[in-house]
């Protein structure tokens, strides 16, 4: 593709993406969140973990925008700091899952036969185990550090990606341009990377953006269940802390929860927008 038509194609892509209001909202929200995550402590008055910076359980006001918790920690600082942890965990875990899913899916779909059979069975196995419970057991067994959480979520989240990539490979393997490439004597590696993979990329991008959101929710659930990293302030952990104070301090639950909700919502809307932009024929198709 030469430079001018490449630019035209990307302009068209942006136009299609921009036509989706939700997707544009998602992009703006995520961008704002990223600024928070990177700037972190310099935008907040206090450190997330510092106790007693104000009176315990004081409601949201001019000084503590989101109130304080039972130990007098600033909820706003916690939410801001939690953005960093959640986004990092979400992105790295989703990248791990994507890497595994794409590798397994493409090998399985391209080569077929007994390789495919074994890999399909393995992914079936992964789908039979309740993911959250499995993640919980592994984190409890191997230690609740943030890296263990990331690795576990990554390892457990590949089946959806694997299944989708596999079915795309199955479809494209029989297509005319692949048959032609084979007839011209191109090896498997060339066909997989140069001819099939670029046509699967849109599925990978969309699924990966949904996986980031799913990973953020799983991490929050693990923290909520008391298996998060004790040295980090995360949104899930704040909601866990809020559980005992629902009667007296709604703000301890509402703000960190809203942060998770809007972050994951943004990622899902971005995924939908990308799907419409990259794959206009399949508008609205998901799962």
């Amino acid at each position: 593709m030469d430079r001018i038509s490449g630019r035209a194609a990307s302009a068209q892509l942006w136009r299609r993406y921009g036509g989706n209001k939700g997707a544009v909202f998602g992009l703006f929200f995520l961008a704002a969140l990223l600024i928070f995550a990177v700037a972190g402590g310099s935008l907040t008055r206090y450190q997330a973990m510092d106790t007693g910076v104000g009176p315990a359980l004081s409601p949201p006001g001019d000084h503590f925008y989101m109130g304080t918790d039972d130990l007098g920690r600033d909820v706003f600082s916690g939410v801001a700091y939690g953005a960093r942890v959640s986004l990092l965990v979400g992105f790295i875990a989703a990248m791990t899952g994507t890497l595994i899913g794409v590798s397994i899916g493409s090998i399985s779909g391209y080569f077929g036969g007994s390789t495919d059979y074994v890999l399909v069975k393995v992914s079936e196995l992964f789908q039979s185990v309740p993911r959250l419970l499995f993640a919980l057991v592994i984190v409890v067994f191997f230690g609740n550090t943030v890296w263990n959480v990331v690795v576990v979520i990554g390892i457990l989240s590949w089946p959806r990606m694997g299944r989708l990539v596999r079915s795309e490979f199955l479809r494209l393997r029989e297509s005319e341009f692949v048959v032609a490439a084979k007839a011209l004597g191109l090896g498997s590696r060339g066909i997989i990377f140069k001819h099939i993979f670029p046509n699967v990329l849109h599925v990978v991008i969309v699924t990966a953006s949904l996986d980031v959101g799913a990973a953020i929710i799983t991490e929050a659930a693990l923290s909520y269940l008391g298996a998060g990293d004790p040295n980090l302030m995360t949104w899930g952990r704040m909601i866990f802390n809020a559980q005992r104070f629902l009667r007296t301090a709604w703000w301890m639950s509402v703000f960190p929860g809203a942060a998770i909700f809007f972050t994951v919502l943004s990622l899902n809307l971005i995924g939908d927008g990308l799907n419409d932009a990259l794959n206009p024929r399949l508008k609205g198709v998901r799962r």
């Binding site: 196995l125 230690g143 909520y224 909601i239 939908d272």
Partner: protein, 320 residues
């Protein structure tokens, strides 16, 4: 059909076996000596002599391959180990708490199925109307909201602010006891919390599936010969749109079990989720492993039953 059923049942065995083997592997891959896993939560000081005795008793001094065989055989006979905290076999602890959890899962699935299908059908019947928008918008929300936060919001709104429902717990220690109204009040929030996300998924799938059927020629001809809208919707369309709906409901079963565990934690519901939460805090490894095995096996069984049910609904499945 019988051959298909047998084939599917036989096909589920390797999965069950694999789940058990994964558990065994976890036990041995985890840092530290597996014998301590079994001694976790026990009261008092553990002497070296006792550790040695336990090791012999559990067969942990035998070669790994022999241990695996003993372990698998034990699990298949229902021996999931012993919890020192509860002073009773893990299998018994879990089975005792199963009914309240399954009550929650069953009711919320029922709620999600009925309300979801109703919402999806009316959205398909009124494209671009308000209910159609609700159907599409809530689906994205359903993907994005964490169950435990939704539960807390429900408590803050309906238990604290409006004080209609209790904040959690169950009215009596067993299913047979307590008044019906009391149960209904205690069940409402957890059932809604657990069911509402699945509801949005069911609605979305129902809508898509109905719209696809509405485009078919036999529906056009059914309408053309003057059948009422109700007949066309229910008899001609919904019946044929059913398969994807059944799939989405059963596929999410694994998700619902995990969701139930989180929901139970929010509402202090004394089922498997509560047990899981307490066991995490206590590091009660045998109970956690037992939970993992039993919930995985129930997911495999549910998937199996759905597959067979599916084949009865649509005989074409058998020949694929």
């Amino acid at each position: 059909m019988v051959a298909y059923t047998i084939k599917r049942i036989l096909g589920a065995f390797p999965l069950v076996l694999a789940v058990v083997v994964i558990n065994f592997a976890l036990l041995h891959l985890a840092p530290g000596d597996p014998v301590y896993v079994f001694l976790q939560g026990g009261a008092g000081e553990v002497t070296e002599q006792y550790v040695q005795q336990m090791r012999r008793q559990l067969g942990l001094d035998k070669p790994l391959a022999e241990q695996l065989v003993v372990y698998v055989a034990g699990v298949l006979r229902g021996n999931l180990g012993y919890s020192h905290f509860y002073q009773s076999p893990v299998f018994q602890i879990i089975v005792e708490r199963m009914p309240v959890t399954y009550l929650l899962v069953l009711l919320s699935t029922l709620f999600a199925a009925i309300a979801g299908i109703a919402l999806g059908v009316s959205a398909a019947n009124h494209p671009h109307a308000f209910v159609d928008r609700v159907c599409t918008v809530t689906a994205v929300f359903g993907y994005s909201i964490p169950v435990f936060w939704l539960g807390q919001l429900l408590i803050i709104a309906f238990s604290v602010y409006f004080s209609i429902f209790p904040t959690g717990g169950i009215p009596a220690s067993a299913l047979g006891q307590g008044g019906l109204l009391d149960w209904a009040l205690h069940l409402t929030l957890p059932v809604v919390c657990l069911g509402v996300i699945q509801l949005t998924l069911v609605a979305r799938v129902t809508r898509a599936s109905m719209l696809e059927i509405y485009g078919m020629e036999y529906i056009v001809s059914a309408r053309a010969k003057g059948l009422s809208n109700m007949t066309v919707t229910l008899k001609h369309s919904l019946r044929n749109a059913f398969l994807p709906i059944v799939t989405v409901i059963s596929m999410d079963f694994a998700f619902q079990i995990a969701g139930a565990m989180v929901t139970e934690t929010v509402f202090s519901w004394p089922g498997l989720g509560r047990l899981m939460f307490d066991s995490v805090l206590r590091r009660d490894y045998p109970v956690l492993m037992g939970l993992l095995i039993l919930t995985s096996v129930s997911v495999i069984v549910i998937n199996l039953v759905t597959d067979i049910f599916y084949a009865y609904l649509d005989p074409r499945v058998v020949y694929q």
